[in-house]
């Protein structure tokens, strides 16, 4: 067990090193230049450009830039090229904005997908199964932005509440309850929207998994023992059907920082996904690479947690 932990940790460190090199190289070697050092930028004179190049270490060889970049990152000194603010502070601020969206969205996705998928599998071929299948494919195939506008129009027209942004401006004088409700509305619509595609896909996956397990010999054994159907489905079958989702659960973690660029853009939500997107457009290298690096860490931590969880839920796996 300890050996596994140690081995796994070392492996992940090595992986992380390669990720750091590759993500650095990809961003720095990609065509295009940050606007501050773009020779075609009419706003800056030659001297100013040269000063920026020195300040950003762009005049050094690539491997030195790499070392300088990660030195700054680990000492917390790396700053955005766009506004000179600390990258970590920027990310943290946006992260706090994205967090509620992520939590509510994930909760909605996971709490709805499982009951829907399981029920569909149990009533295989029945009316419930057919209608959820239809709905799932509908939700998968409908474009997210289109569905978003329909949802926004519907909510605004029906409930007469604004839903764009994180809150309505000019409400600071209103009572606590009004402000709370305002925040809830603003949070709920993008969360639901972010969850729909997830529910459609995940519930299909749950259904497939459950169907496969339902045809296993041990489910027949459970029935032959005289157990009630609920125990056959929700204990003997479900326990086994859930195993693969433990792996998926670990992979949810990176969503914390990836967020959804599309949803955040549509709803003018100042989240981390949108910040990363804007950083790419502005070629703000420190922000892009740092977001990348943190995502990589989250992926590795997520897979590590999955491995640990798997060991807890599947007695066949001993590490």
């Amino acid at each position: 067990m300890l050996a596994f932990l140690g081995r796994s940790f070392v492996q992940k460190l090595i992986t992380l090193f390669f990720i750091s090199v590759i993500s650095f190289a990809v961003i720095y070697l990609a065509p295009g230049e940050p606007s501050q050092v773009d020779p075609l930028n009419p706003k800056f004179t030659k001297e100013v450009v040269e000063r920026f190049r020195q300040q950003f270490h762009l005049d050094k060889p690539l491997h030195q830039q790499y070392l300088l970049f990660y030195r700054d990152l680990f000492t917390g000194k790396s700053v955005s090229w766009k506004d000179g603010r600390s990258v970590l502070a920027k990310i943290y601020e946006r992260f706090l904005n994205s967090l509620p969206l992520f939590i509510v969205g994930t909760l909605i996705t996971w709490t709805l997908s499982f009951p829907v998928g399981i029920q569909a599998a149990i009533s295989r071929g029945g009316g419930y199964d057919r209608s959820t299948t239809f709905l799932a494919y509908l939700l998968i195939s409908i474009p997210g932005f289109f569905f978003a506008y329909i949802l926004i129009i519907f909510v605004v027209n029906t409930f007469h509440v604004p839903v764009i942004g994180m809150r309505t401006f000019g409400l600071s004088g209103a009572g606590l309850a009004t402000r709370m409700m305002d925040r809830v509305w603003h949070l709920l619509i993008p969360s639901i929207l972010g969850a729909t595609a997830g529910i459609a896909v995940l519930s299909r996956y749950v259904r497939g998994q459950m169907l496969e397990v339902e045809s296993q010999d041990y489910v027949r054994t459970a029935r032959a023992k005289g157990l009630p159907e609920e125990q056959v489905h929700y204990k003997h079958a479900l326990r086994n059907a859930l195993l693969p989702f433990v792996t998926m659960f670990g992979l949810v973690l990176p969503g914390l920082i990836g967020g959804s660029v599309i949803i955040e853009s549509i709803f003018a939500w100042p989240g981390i996904g949108r910040m990363a997107y804007e950083a790419i457009l502005a070629r703000d290298y420190p922000v892009i690479i740092t977001v990348n690096f943190i995502s990589a860490i989250l992926v590795l931590v997520g897979t590590f947690l999955s491995d640990l969880l798997y060991m807890v839920v599947d007695p066949r796996i001993k590490l």
Partner: protein
């Protein structure tokens, strides 16, 4: 004196609606099992043994299966007519099953102790301490060493033979009157096979339950069976005592089966085989389903579905041709 049979299966028909058409996997099967008897159902792979066994306890998923007809009387009640709730009380308590594949028949995520316990707690209001003692006793009875420790094990810790012993312990847990053993030894090594068959024999001597042994191997049944039923392509072709079947088989299929047993031929000679293959259940030949492979085939076999003929005392076979032959010989 023969007591009322425990189980009477009468003209059972189970069809599968498949892409190739209606597969008549079981098409009119009748047999009975008396109290404390060991009855064997023998037949080639695919002849419908498992389907028959599963239908008794309503364990076939419907669809694709459909019970097209027949009755299954257990102690006077027709199991096919029972409500789900009543059927559940029969399963595991009055009739239990041991399956063909010990490797996959136990749930991988629960300890074997727990899986046995479930049977006990489902059917009887027994407290933890008592059920624990009972599990230990059961594991002991089926020959598992140090049962206290083994009951904490998960199935993957056990070998195939041990898992089948656990399955048997589970089947015995509520002292059922009938155990259906569907090829319990097919997936096991030859030495383990003998051990498991002996175990069934011992358990039956101790407890006196009836056993329906299903197998494709006639040599397996010789030592244990009271009565043998031979199935072919979803129908019963011959039934009789062990002695009758082995000494004077009446159906050409049974004769073929016996000739193909190793040890029935002189050394060095090739084993006899029955030419041809089992017909596809969705596309059975007309008349007698065995006629394309039968060496005694006559014109009438190709068109006329044969009746069961009474050869001697409780010895029946579905072959009028042989029946006529024997009549002539004895006359």
């Amino acid at each position: 004196m023969t007591p009322d049979p425990l189980l009477i299966v009468k003209d059972l028909k189970v069809y599968f609606d498949t892409d190739q058409g209606m597969a008549k996997a079981v098409d009119g099967v009748s047999f009975r099992v008396g109290q404390g008897e060991t009855v064997c159902l023998v037949g080639e792979s695919g002849c419908g043994k498992t389907v028959s066994a599963l239908s008794i306890l309503g364990l076939l998923p419907q669809p694709p299966a459909q019970i097209a007809g027949g009755k299954v009387f257990f102690k006077g009640r027709d199991l096919l007519e029972l409500e789900q709730k009543d059927l559940r009380e029969v399963r595991g308590r009055e009739i239990s099953m041991v399956f063909q594949e010990p490797m996959t028949s136990l749930n991988p995520v629960f300890t074997i102790g727990h899986q046995i316990e479930e049977v006990i707690t489902t059917h009887e209001g027994v407290d933890q301490i008592e059920s624990r003692q009972r599990i230990i006793r059961l594991l002991n009875d089926v020959g598992i060493a140090s049962p206290e420790e083994r009951m904490q094990d998960y199935p993957h810790n056990l070998s195939g033979g041990q898992r089948q012993r656990v399955m048997i312990a589970m089947a015995l847990a509520c002292s059922p009157e009938l155990i259906i053993a569907d090829e319990p030894t097919t997936a096991l090594d030859v030495t383990i096979q003998a051990q498991i068959l002996n175990l069934f024999k011992e358990l039956q001597e101790d407890r006196g339950m009836a056993i329906l042994q299903i197998t494709h191997d006639l040599s397996v049944v010789a030592g244990v069976a009271d009565r043998i039923y031979v199935m072919y392509a979803g129908i019963m072709v011959e039934e009789g005592s062990v002695w009758q079947i082995f000494r004077e088989p009446c159906h050409p299929y049974t004769m073929g089966l016996l000739e193909s047993l190793p040890g029935r031929r002189a050394k060095g000679q090739d084993l006899a085989t029955i030419p041809g293959a089992v017909p596809d259940p969705a596309n059975k030949p007309p008349g007698c389903p065995f006629h394309p492979r039968c060496r005694y085939v006559q014109e009438s076999c190709r068109v006329q579905f044969p009746e069961m003929c009474d050869f001697s005392d409780r010895h029946l076979a579905r072959c009028p041709i042989m029946y006529a032959k024997r009549k002539v010989q004895s006359a």
